[in-house]
């Protein structure tokens, strides 16, 4: 249930709104957005229908950047140049709203009691295939073959990992990349030589099945947690923001869209943790909320 019953009433005027708000985009952001949509409808505007799809960041942009497109597009990456260009071409005003922070979690099988800590470089080298056996990293470790896992190219998480962590070097050929996180968690939880990566939320929800590795970024090992994940905190190198993009024209035309956007920015920090995202710094969220209020 919601832990903040007053959330809906903070929202200045209590005018009853109706109509629909259409959200599509990233599957990573989906749990957060779905949670907020639901809470919004329960606590703030019961007659507004917020529908959330998850066709993916890029596919979402396709239906966002057209006439009469969706109102919001969730994104696990920032908008690309060509996407921006398309919006300009259409004369469409869009606004980026940073929602929360996600920490790429490096996980291993719970039975794995040796690789509890790795340096950032070791992680990179593992996924680049420079180590094939655990014993290549540390001669005390077993000489079993390392099996890497991760979400497939469909996911923003993969893109982030590939672009920002591996620095666009090719990932090891036999990496087991999956479309479904359910599959991924299962695979790691059942392969004692597994090492995988995915968003913090999936680790957070499956702590009984997989174990997070502490990463040494230079100042000793850090495990991902709501506290460590932040853009300037100890887990910063593996932290990425997640966004939603707002069609500002829609927000001006449809009060429910704007109202929802404001509500989201005012309340996102209450729900982020619940679904495995680290909250934004308070000021950043407030700033975005205020910018939105000015659109009124």
């Amino acid at each position: 249930g919601s832990d903040d019953e007053s959330a809906g009433n903070q929202n200045g005027d209590n005018k009853e709104l109706e109509g629909s708000v259409v959200v599509d985009g990233s599957g990573t952001v989906y749990p957060l957005m779905a949670k907020m949509a639901e809470e919004y409808m329960i606590n703030s505007q019961p007659n507004v229908s917020v529908e959330v799809s998850r066709s993916g960041t890029s596919a979402g942009f396709e239906t966002f950047l057209i006439e009469n497109g969706t109102d919001f597009n969730d994104a696990s990456r920032t908008i690309k140049e060509e996407e921006k260009a398309k919006a300009e071409e259409l004369g469409m005003n869009i606004k980026q709203l940073k929602l929360a922070l996600d920490g790429i979690s490096i996980v291993v099988n719970p039975e794995n009691d040796f690789a509890t800590e790795l340096t950032e470089q070791q992680v990179i080298d593992i996924f680049l295939g420079k180590y094939t056996k655990w014993s290549d990293i540390n001669s005390d470790w077993p000489s079993d073959k390392i099996q890497t896992y991760g979400p497939n190219e469909n996911h923003g998480t993969y893109e982030f990992f590939y672009e920002n962590i591996l620095d666009e070097q090719d990932m090891v050929g036999d990496a087991n990349l999956q479309q479904e996180y359910s599959t991924l968690v299962k695979l790691v939880s059942e392969d004692k030589n597994a090492i995988g990566f995915f968003g913090f939320g999936y680790y957070d929800n499956n702590k009984d099945k997989v174990k997070a590795v502490g990463i040494d970024f230079g100042n000793g090992p850090v495990k991902p947690s709501l506290e460590t994940i932040s853009e300037d905190g100890p887990y910063a190198n593996f932290t990425r923001p997640v966004f939603t993009y707002l069609n500002v024209d829609h927000a001006k035309e449809k009060p429910q869209v704007l109202d929802y956007a404001i509500w989201v920015m005012e309340n996102v920090n209450n729900y982020a943790g619940e679904v495995g995202f680290a909250p934004l710094p308070k000021e950043e969220a407030e700033k975005l909320a205020n910018e939105l209020k000015e659109l009124k």
């Binding site: 942009f61 396709e62 190219e153 469909n154 299962k186 059942e190």
Partner: protein, 317 residues
């Protein structure tokens, strides 16, 4: 006009009334002429559906082949649609499709035909009439339910017996698909075997054959074309099956023959691409149609083959 020459007939002047109504019949006779036209329009829908399928698949597939050479598509074993240097080889998908169908047929073929033999040759009328509809319930279970079952029941069961099996693998959905297809094969084969005249069996029994011998040496050979057709239709069904593999086989685009591993079929690829990040107009979007086209051709060929076999090799007894 008077009909009084015929007093007997006159209690009700039916004749007269009918004649009178005839003048008003013009409206209904227009309707009468219209009916065939209306019905024709309905019948055209099925033709339009076919044209629609072929047209959409074709036009977008051609677009795809402008970007990816057709030879690469059909010969490459690499499928990495989303990577920076994407590869579009359909072989991993065809491999996954063939393996899963093969596993399904290894389950459904023998079991289906044994069930058909039991129902057609051994079971009494009463037993047959209870068992057959019960078996057909299996065919009516939605495939999404089978997918759930494969993922949450069959896979864990397999893994407890054979630890090498991955959490997602092609074996479990293959087996479950096979179970789904059993009723189809059993039912069609049973039809084929039941239509072998009893005089064949009598001929065999009179030579001292046991029921088993009459079945395998006379009835089955005589019904062979029907049985083969049922197998081919079963394969076609397995090739086109989507949800079971989507849920239970993961989405690795491996080109491997190791059935304990995750693989993707053509159908599951379509679900992944259509439901995932496939911006319209991108190569990956068009690849959806190219794969669907391949799938369509595969199943069409199977269906035509099945029909050809039943027609061509129909036994004359």
């Amino acid at each position: 006009m008077a009909t009084n020459s015929n007093p007997n007939k006159n209690a009700v002047p039916v004749r007269e009334m009918i004649e009178k109504k005839k003048s008003s019949k013009n409206i209904s006779s227009v309707f009468e002429k219209l009916v065939p036209t209306i019905l024709f329009l309905f019948a055209i829908v099925s033709i339009l559906t076919t044209i629609g399928i072929i047209y959409t698949l074709f036009s977008e597939t051609i677009e795809f082949f402008k970007r990816v050479p057709i030879t690469e598509f059909f010969t490459s074993t690499e499928l990495n649609p989303l990577s920076q240097n994407p590869d579009f080889g359909i072989l991993p998908l065809i491999n996954g499709t063939i393996l899963s169908s093969l596993i399904a047929m290894l389950v459904a073929g023998p079991i289906g035909i044994m069930a058909a033999v039991y129902l057609s040759e051994y079971a009494s009328d009463k037993v047959r009439r209870t068992l057959k509809p019960m078996l057909e319930v299996l065919a009516g279970v939605p495939t999404i339910v089978y997918g759930f079952f494969a993922f949450t029941f069959v896979t864990p069961l397999l893994r407890s017996i054979w630890p090498a099996v991955d959490a997602t693998n092609i074996l479990s959905p293959g087996i479950v698909m096979g179970i789904m297809i059993i009723p189809m094969i059993a039912s069609l084969s049973e039809d084929a075997m039941s239509s072998v005249p009893n005089s064949m069996r009598e001929g065999a029994f009179a030579l001292g054959a046991t029921r088993l011998e009459s079945t395998f040496k006379v009835v089955i050979p005589a019904a062979l074309s029907g049985i083969i057709a049922s197998f081919i239709l079963g394969i076609s069904r397995a090739i086109g099956e989507t949800m079971i593999v989507t849920i239970a086989s993961g989405s690795s685009k491996n080109f491997t023959f190791d059935i304990t591993q995750s693989m993707q079929t053509m159908t599951a690829y379509i679900v992944e691409v259509a439901g995932g990040e496939a911006p319209a107009g991108s190569t990956i979007y068009f690849s959806l149609y190219a794969v669907a086209m391949t799938l369509f051709v595969f199943t069409l060929l199977m269906n035509l083959l099945a029909r050809y076999i039943t027609r061509k090799f129909r036994e004359e007894y």
